[in-house]
């Protein structure tokens, strides 16, 4: 059975966040706080990390630490529980003496207080021997290779037509290289976990985007029988992809708890440790070549993307994939190369691939607009493909042009003088820039929802999804209400627990689509099994294996971002007083929470455009801008008049709710729009993020 589209009643309305009150009054319990709710007092864990990029741990001398008041024990690679399957190198914590990067966990201190644990960690002496050969820690050091696949299974290279010939013939060409630095997710709540063992059963309260994912991965590595790993995540303070999969700290907490004599262990990763242990967006370098007719119509697109990965676990940012579907051109080539280094493991960060890739592609499009003398909005309109270029599939609801036109109208684009550097207001050079945005409508099979009638048209809806702060709890309640044809107040939704039916990750902007489809299916199953007025106690559950017709249709969301940037003529400082994003994202299920997602995406895109810059020290091998005073993200003062809107739309090819995902598209294209606006303000083209003041000094 597959779900059939449902009628919107609660969907589309501003239902207030169901957990808002708990959160703002501090009653919502986050992962590290669960220790205090347990009968047994928790021990506090503190991570000790390597201070060389490659080598061996000779010996962990814990004598001073153990002598410190309150320190209970120190777990290292000689004492930690052995994993049954240590094949995921990132999770093979404390399994041997190898040091694969600087900042790797080499011991865990357990103590009665957090202060004693931290001091214990300072007192642990780790004797390390550097490897004979010099570690390679910066991209210039290493040799690129072609990966088997980029993230999410994308082909590394795709070639259509003869790009070299097309470029050679093209009347106008752009050939430029764009770079983005290492970027770090930095959710407000750090990665944190409370772990406790009861015999051979492990329970984790984890700050994660996927309870079932964590349970499966950790349970398998630890060799626990099915059902012996319970993971709960009732509240999560953001993730941005960094909590999509378990990272080393979760395993460290599980191993430490195993050594804690039955006491629970709580661990909160420090902000500094988050720059080494919880994933990051690798730096990228994109060479983009565009060939066009004099009127801007593209004849060739190439996007060659280079990134770096960790030598001990591969992650390949799919930087060039957006170029495969964005614009029409007969000849096209996209490639991914990656350099392995002795560094921390990169992973997902909001819109992996699209964020750096569309930054590069959309700045190149701006350069093409200038080269052809065509308005940047018109240039995009002229390059609309009729079918998805990569697959030849027809698009379902490709409404990019409407987003562009609506955005241009609302932003006052028509009044823009195309001449760069033509407007000075006080001491500020003012420019307008824009870019397109896109994100695929992803769907994850294998979600199960269970619905139990409680009588009187009340229903309990269970699914192991996670609300990481996005509003999933609220939105899934609305979906369940509409699927059952009742008011949202009649739904009791439970999520964030592996004791509930299995759900996939809150990631890929696919959470609501995938979980919601399972809920709709379960509701329809319940009606089929038990009718319109079921007795209290009856239940149905269903697993949704598929919904969208991706074989025959290209399903994507689109958007257009418009930015006003001001560059100070004396100091070069860049400020962004105005941003607008117009999106086509299917049906918006809850305008309040959706707006937050899109606004947040724009702010994060602004942040990437102007501020974020992880500096990895070429000698030491770790990121030294490792706190929020030195790794800048946008502050309130950086965010001016920020507006988002969306087209009225319903996409029942994508989901039975008519929605597509909205979590990531806001960050896509935004950095390009900002960079393009700074070019328009000044006439200076900066091709490296972040776009900082020093580029604009006279």
């Amino acid at each position: 059975m597959t779900a059939t589209p449902i009628r919107a009643r609660s969907m589309g309305t501003h239902l207030t966040r169901l957990d808002g009150h708990e959160k703002v009054t501090g009653r919502a319990t986050y992962a590290a706080e669960h220790g205090f709710t347990l009968p047994e007092r928790p021990l506090h864990a503190w991570l000790v990390t390597s201070t060389i990029p490659r080598g061996r741990v000779e010996r962990v001398d814990a004598s001073d630490a153990l002598a410190h008041r309150g320190v209970v024990t120190v777990v290292d690679h000689t004492s930690a529980r052995r994993l049954a399957k240590p094949d995921d190198a990132e999770l093979a914590v404390l399994q041997d003496d190898a040091i694969a990067f600087r900042g790797q966990i080499v011991a865990v201190v357990l103590a009665e207080t957090i202060e004693a644990a931290r001091e214990g960690a300072r007192l642990v002496r780790v004797h390390q021997t550097p490897a004979d050969s010099a570690p390679q820690v910066v991209i210039e050091d290493g040799e690129p290779y072609t990966p088997e696949a980029a993230n999410a299974g994308h082909e590394p290279d795709v070639v259509q037509g003869d790009v070299d010939a097309a470029l050679a013939r093209a009347a106008v060409t752009v050939d430029a290289t764009y770079t983005t630095p290492h970027e770090f997710n930095n959710p407000m709540e750090p990665h944190a976990v409370t772990a406790t063992w009861d015999g051979d059963t492990l329970t984790l309260w984890d700050s994660t985007q996927s309870v079932h994912g964590v349970a499966a991965v950790l349970g398998r590595a630890l060799g626990l029988a099915r059902g012996k790993t319970r993971v709960l995540a009732p509240y999560v303070g953001g993730g941005f992809g960094s909590k999509g999969l378990p990272h080393a700290p979760e395993m460290a907490a599980a191993l430490a708890a195993f050594a804690a004599d039955g006491r629970p262990v709580q661990l909160a990763v420090t902000r500094q440790q988050m720059f080494a242990l919880t994933g990051y967006r690798t730096q990228t370098e994109s060479r983009v070549r565009l060939g066009a007719e004099p009127d801007g119509r593209l004849v060739a697109i190439t996007h060659d993307a280079l990134s770096q990965t960790s030598r001990y676990k591969e992650f390949v940012e799919q930087t060039a994939t957006a170029a495969r579907m964005m614009y029409a051109a007969d000849a096209r080539s996209t490639t991914h190369r990656v350099v392995p280094l002795d560094v921390a493991v990169p992973a997902w960060m909001r819109a992996p691939g699209e964020m750096p890739g569309m930054y590069a592609h959309e700045v190149a499009m701006d350069e093409l607009a200038v080269a052809c003398g065509v308005d940047p909005v018109d240039l995009r309109v002229r390059n609309e493909p009729e079918v998805e270029p990569e697959t030849g599939n027809p698009f379902n609801e490709r409404r990019l042009v409407e987003c562009l036109q609506r955005g241009a109208d609302r932003f006052g684009w028509a009044d823009r003088d195309p001449e760069p550097g033509s407007r000075l207001v006080g001491d500020w050079r003012v420019g307008l820039g824009m870019a397109s945005a896109t994100y695929p409508a992803l769907f994850m099979p294998g979600n199960t929802a269970r619905i139990r009638a409680l009588g009187d048209q009340r229903y309990a809806v269970d699914i192991g999804a996670v609300d990481i702060g996005t509003g999933a709890r609220t939105v899934l309640t609305q979906i369940a209400a509409d699927a059952l044809g009742v008011e949202p107040g009649r739904i009791e939704l439970s999520l964030g627990d592996t004791a509930l039916p299995k759900a996939t990750v809150a990631g890929g902007s696919a959470g609501t689509s995938s979980w919601g489809t399972a809920i709709v299916l379960a509701a329809q199953q319940l009606r089929a099994d038990h009718g319109d007025d079921p007795d209290a106690g009856v239940e149905s559950s269903s697993t949704s294996e598929g919904y969208p017709d991706m074989e025959n249709l290209a399903l994507h969301s689109f958007g257009a971002v418009f930015v006003e940037a001001r560059v100070h003529r004396w100091t070069g400082e860049v400020r962004v007083p105005r941003m607008l994003g117009v999106y086509s994202v299917g049906r918006v299920i809850n305008p309040t929470t959706a707006r937050s997602q899109l606004l947040g995406g724009l702010v994060m895109g602004l942040s990437g455009a102007l501020f974020e810059d992880g500096y990895r020290d070429p000698r030491h091998g770790h990121v030294v801008t490792q706190d929020l005073a030195t790794y800048h993200v946008a502050s309130h003062a950086d965010v001016g008049d920020l507006q988002v809107e969306w087209l009225d739309e319903e996409d029942t090819a994508a989901t039975p709710m008519g929605s597509r995902g909205i979590g990531e598209i806001g960050i896509v294209g935004t950095a390009a729009a900002v960079a393009n606006a700074t070019f328009h303000a000044t006439g200076t083209r900066v091709r490296a993020l972040p776009v900082t003041a020093d580029h604009f000094l006279g």
Partner: protein, 334 residues
């Protein structure tokens, strides 16, 4: 964090005696800098003597429009104090350009001046740093250098002093009142901090146990017509890439106006607030225009040393200094 003894001082002299007698003791004010260092293991004192509740929290008027500021006046209170806002706008602006509202509500005057560098290696105990651990080496040289000094640095240390307030006070020739075991002395603001030389572990000229009790400012026309320009990538909550505190007195009006007197101090360029006397000398007696400012800044930065990481600073100083003087002159210097 290392276990330590916490002592709450009730009397300034007692606090001085307690710290002076114990090489392992440190003053604690609001702790917005020191407590971070305790947690990170950057500072590991055996004792902290909390001076934040000593009755030194008044801004008092002095004859001739001056003010005397107690060390425990919080940054926010100082910034909005009418005597300061009116008589010393550069001081108000410098404070409000610093840190965040929450931190300013806590941070004290003395603590602000004596906060330590934000050099990323100084704060990371896993890397060598001569300032934190004399003789271990300087990681900033050849590393992350966007904020590094371009003036007065040494082979031992290229860090900059982070305080905005100190830059404004250096321009306006404040004096710092210091209480030591042998009594009180006054230190010109420009001599409170030192250049790193061979001893970057010493930020200031104060002896161990000397307590800042007050800061004194003398009123003047230069101070009345003063301002502070801070350049930073992020609009708030960021340390200066460079900053300029300026005071200006002009003879005449409009484009013909001649600089009668000027004060300039720069932040983000050195181990101490940098009083730009060579630049002042170039400007004094000259009509104020873009060329004069450029010449003045170039004179001061003639001996600047830069790397690819901070090569932008001289040009940014030219811009920021022009912006500050243009604002004071009330006209465009382009």
């Amino acid at each position: 964090m290392k276990e330590l003894t916490y002592v709450r001082a009730t009397d300034a002299a007692e606090a001085v005696a307690a710290v002076a007698a114990d090489p392992d003791a440190r003053f604690l004010a609001a702790g917005t800098n020191l407590v971070d260092h305790l947690k990170l293991g950057v500072a590991t004192p055996g004792t902290v003597v909390d001076v934040s509740r000593l009755p030194l929290a008044e801004v008092e008027p002095l004859d001739g429009g001056g003010v005397r500021i107690g060390t425990n006046v919080r940054n926010t209170d100082l910034a909005v104090h009418p005597l300061v806002r009116h008589g010393f706008p550069a001081v108000s602006r410098a404070l409000l350009a610093g840190a965040s509202g929450q931190i300013r509500n806590q941070a004290t005057t003395g603590g602000n001046l004596l906060q330590r560098t934000r050099c990323v290696y100084f704060q990371d105990v896993t890397t060598p740093c001569n300032k934190r651990e004399p003789g271990s080496g300087c990681s900033a040289i050849g590393g992350f250098g966007r904020y590094d000094a371009i003036l007065g640095a040494s082979e031992a240390c290229v860090a900059t002093h982070p305080s905005d307030l100190a830059v404004a006070l250096a321009a306006l020739e404040a004096r710092v009142v210091v209480l030591g075991p042998d009594g009180e002395r006054r230190v010109p603001m420009t001599e409170l901090h030192r250049l790193p030389g061979h001893h970057p572990e010493r930020d200031t000229t104060l002896a161990h146990g000397e307590l800042v009790t007050h800061v004194e400012l003398t009123g003047s026309d230069l101070a009345l017509r003063s301002t502070y320009v801070k350049v930073r990538d992020r609009a708030s909550y960021a340390f200066a890439l460079v900053s300029v505190a300026a005071g200006l007195e002009l003879d005449g009006d409009g484009e013909d106006a001649v600089v009668r007197d000027v004060r300039l101090a720069w932040g983000g360029v050195a181990h101490k607030p940098w009083r730009a006397t060579a630049a002042e000398d170039v400007l004094r007696g000259r009509p104020l225009d873009a060329a004069a400012v450029r010449e003045a800044v170039d004179a001061e930065t003639r001996d600047a040393t830069t790397t690819t990481e901070n090569a932008y600073k001289p040009a940014m100083l030219r811009g920021a200094t022009t912006a500050a003087l243009a604002a004071l002159a009330g006209r465009d210097l382009a």
